[in-house]
Amino acid sequence: QSVSSLQRIAGLDFIPGLQPVLSLSKMDETLAVYQQILTRLPPRNVVQILNDLENLRDLLYLLAVSKGCPFPHSSGLKTLESLDGVLEASRYSMEVVTLSRLQASLQDMLQQLDLGPRC
């Protein structure tokens, strides 16, 4: 289920959106946040995505190492106070917006990776 681009969803700002310039470390951070969020979702639907995100983060790390970038593994958001409350109140919104933004972010990363991102 894709989210209409005409409407902005309020209250879900902790879910990363599109960013103009992404470094390798920023990409890793974004993926880490998504991992954090997805682990709170029902595992039946997102476990494969979680595995794929882990593979992607490993790839980013490999790429960064190959480029000689210092690349500390990001642990995601330090505090996600509102996450549990939102999940409890708006599970559907949470899932749809998370997956929609993740898809957009991955497409964006794919394009920026082709351009040779910074460390």
Binding site: V47, Q48, L50, N51, D52, E54, N55, D58, L59, L62
Partner: protein
Amino acid sequence: MGITDDGNLKISWSSPTLTPFPLQYQVKYSENSTAIMREVDEIVSATSLLVDSVLPGSSYEVQVRGKRLDGPGAWSDWSTPHFYTIQDVLYFPPKILTSVGSNVSFHCIYKNENKLVSSKKIVWWMNLAEKIPQSQYSVVSDRVSKVTFCNLNATKPRGKFTYDAVYCCSEHECHHRYAELYVIDVNVNISCETDGYLTKMTCRWSTNSIQSLVGSTLQLRYHRRSLYCSDIPSIHPVSEPKDCHLQKDGFYECVFQPIFLLSGYTMWIRINHSLGSLDSPPTCVLPDSVVKPLPPPSVKAEMTVNIGLLKISWEKPIFPENNLQFQIRYGLSGKEVQWKMYEVYDAKAKSASLPVPDLCAAYAVQVRCKRLDGLGYWSNWSNPAYTVVMDIKVPTRGPEFWRIINGDMTKKEKNVTLLWKPLMKNDSLCSVRRYVINHQTSRNGTWAQDVGNHTRFTFLWTEPAHTVTILAVNSVGVSVANFNLTLSWHMSKVHIVQSFSAYPLNSSCVILSWMLSPSEYKLMYFIVEWRTPNEDNEIKWLRIPSSVKKYYIHDHFIPIEKYQFSLYPIFVEGVGKPKIINTFIQEDIEKHQNDAGLYIVVLIIISSLVLLLGTLLISHQRMKKLFWEDVPNPKNCSWAQGLNFQKPETFEHLFFKHTDSVTFGPLLLEPETISEDISVDASWKNKDEMAPATVVSLLLATSDLGKRSFCASDQCNGANFSDAEGTEVTCEDESRRQPSVKYAMLVSNSKSSETDEEQGLINSSVSKCFSSKNSPLKDSFSDTSWEIETQAFLILSDQHPKIISPHLTFSEGLDELLKMEGNFPEENHDEKSVYYLGVTSVKKRESDVFLTDASRVLYPFPAHCLFTDIRILRDSCSHLVENNFNLGTSVKKTFVSYMPQFQTCSTQTHKIMENKMCDLTV
């Protein structure tokens, strides 16, 4: 207690339960061997103690007690003593489980007769059958020897023993104890496949290559590397087991879901056994490289209009993202599609157009894909897509057509019927919706007529020249290339076919040939028309190119029919005058048939001749064998010395020469009885008189020679029966010299006449004078053993004797005689077999009597006739002889084959014969 792999004695115990504090233990053991006796106390905190330097044959007594490790406490009581004795041969380790290709070593301490064998003198054997080369030995100490096996092969099970027995021996003696070596082939091939959704990886492996080891279990273990596989897969110390399930095909199947698409899964099979565990060589699988994609979706197939290609289109499956190659298979749709393959290596391609031979057929098409770099597997074939048969192009041509002119040919207005053959798919591409006829005349110009889907059309021909064209129309358009036919009054008189002939090749083919004369008109083609003139069958016709001068017509031609062939030259200006012939098919076929009949008759004649010749040859050989093969040469016999058998007198002399001197003697063969009574009637005066004649009882080779035996040879001259054909046989009373008896006969009173028939034993040739109703035969039969079961015969002499069945049809004269014999005496109403003179083959009982009243044969009884005919009877008359042997004890009737004992006729018999001689005059 037990021996460790290092050769130490391990004393172990369990700690007492429910102790809240650690314990220390005091171990007390005593060692008793031939070498030493000692007692040792040791305090340990562990629950085991290793005792080194153990020796074979030593015995140990062990006790343990415990105490709190730290702090106050008292020693517990000593445990109960535990005893352990080490065997005379000590192997360490005693058993080894290893995999193929590995290296292992066994150690041994050998004590023989209370003496430790020096390790230098220890030798090793395998399975008590094979001495292990010394190069594999090594000396560890004075007492410890080691043998090493390198690059081991799998153990071949020997019955229930699944291990190799390794023996440590002295030079000439091995102890019965041995070490066990288990070598298992653990090479297991693990293959994995990732599904098209990239969420599941299924791995399969088989245990077929793993030798079953009792008590072992198999387990797939894996280690996931975060990204990709290492160059050389290795067993990682940290691994996870994976549940696998045995499938029906004998494979274990393990499913990884979800998967890390880019992680390297290093997998191996672990064999767990009480002797240890073995791991198969590890293999690393990257799920992304073993993807079996989903089949391409949205596969469509169609025939492109106006282009005429089979166009296949598809879409790329969602996964994987990699570039893909595609395979297309296509074929005529049906139950068993003969597929043709086409490959597309362009990853971006989404369609392909292929030429196909048949544009108007339905094709089935399937597509599959695989990663372009070759990794992974081919997807399944997509669901088949089918083309729809539709018009692809305009018809390639219009139909071929011909005309029939109905009505009076002399009239100017004629009904013309156009006939054409419906276009096939290949020409119509792919269907014809309708036909259109274009007319063109000088007066009316041009007009068209839509005739729908019909294949004939009639119109009125009124003008001198009328050109028609038939067009085929389908959904795409009108045929471009079309045939024209001009009907012209003028051209119908143009004659250019000089000769025209038809030759039947067979019932399905006729050859036509023709010769043309020069013409100023432009010849387009010919039309050949043929039909059976006697019937109203529809004509058949063919268009033939103008360059052809000989043509084969294939049709079903009935041989008995006559056919009329017409050859029409078709000019641009119109249809020319035809050449019409009535072919000679029928005559030719009849000729062929006659020829064939002649051949068959000749063949039958030749076959008959060959058969006849063969029969004659076989008969000749058989006759020859029958009469001469088993007959001994009398010249080789002692009694025949000095005799000339070429002279007939010799036989008379021969028989009488021995009459008195030889009856039964030691030099003679043992006689055999073959007959009891043989009676010869005296001739009667004439056949009308029916006077009773004297019956001569004729006994061959009987012991009672004085009573009933007689030798008939001296009464008969040496007439050759081979010349008997067309002769007359007469039986003549010597005293009266009246040759009134026409037939010779032997009468037998056989109770078992049916049996005689079946056995065919009474095929005797008899020369006998018939008697009247009051013949003494009756008395003779009743008085003698004929009543029992008489089987009589008379031996004839001839190279070609014919032995007549008593139940055969009598010849003319004999029939008369039989009438006279209507009251022939019978015994118990049994049939009396009538034997009459004849010469025939034993096997040819059906032969007619040939010695008729017209014959004139002087019937001989030469000695050599006995040889031949007895030989004939020998085989068939065995039971006859037996019967005669059983006739009675008082009278011994004997008969000796081929021997001149038959000459032992008594004088009495001789006299009888002199008086009652049967004269068979040639």
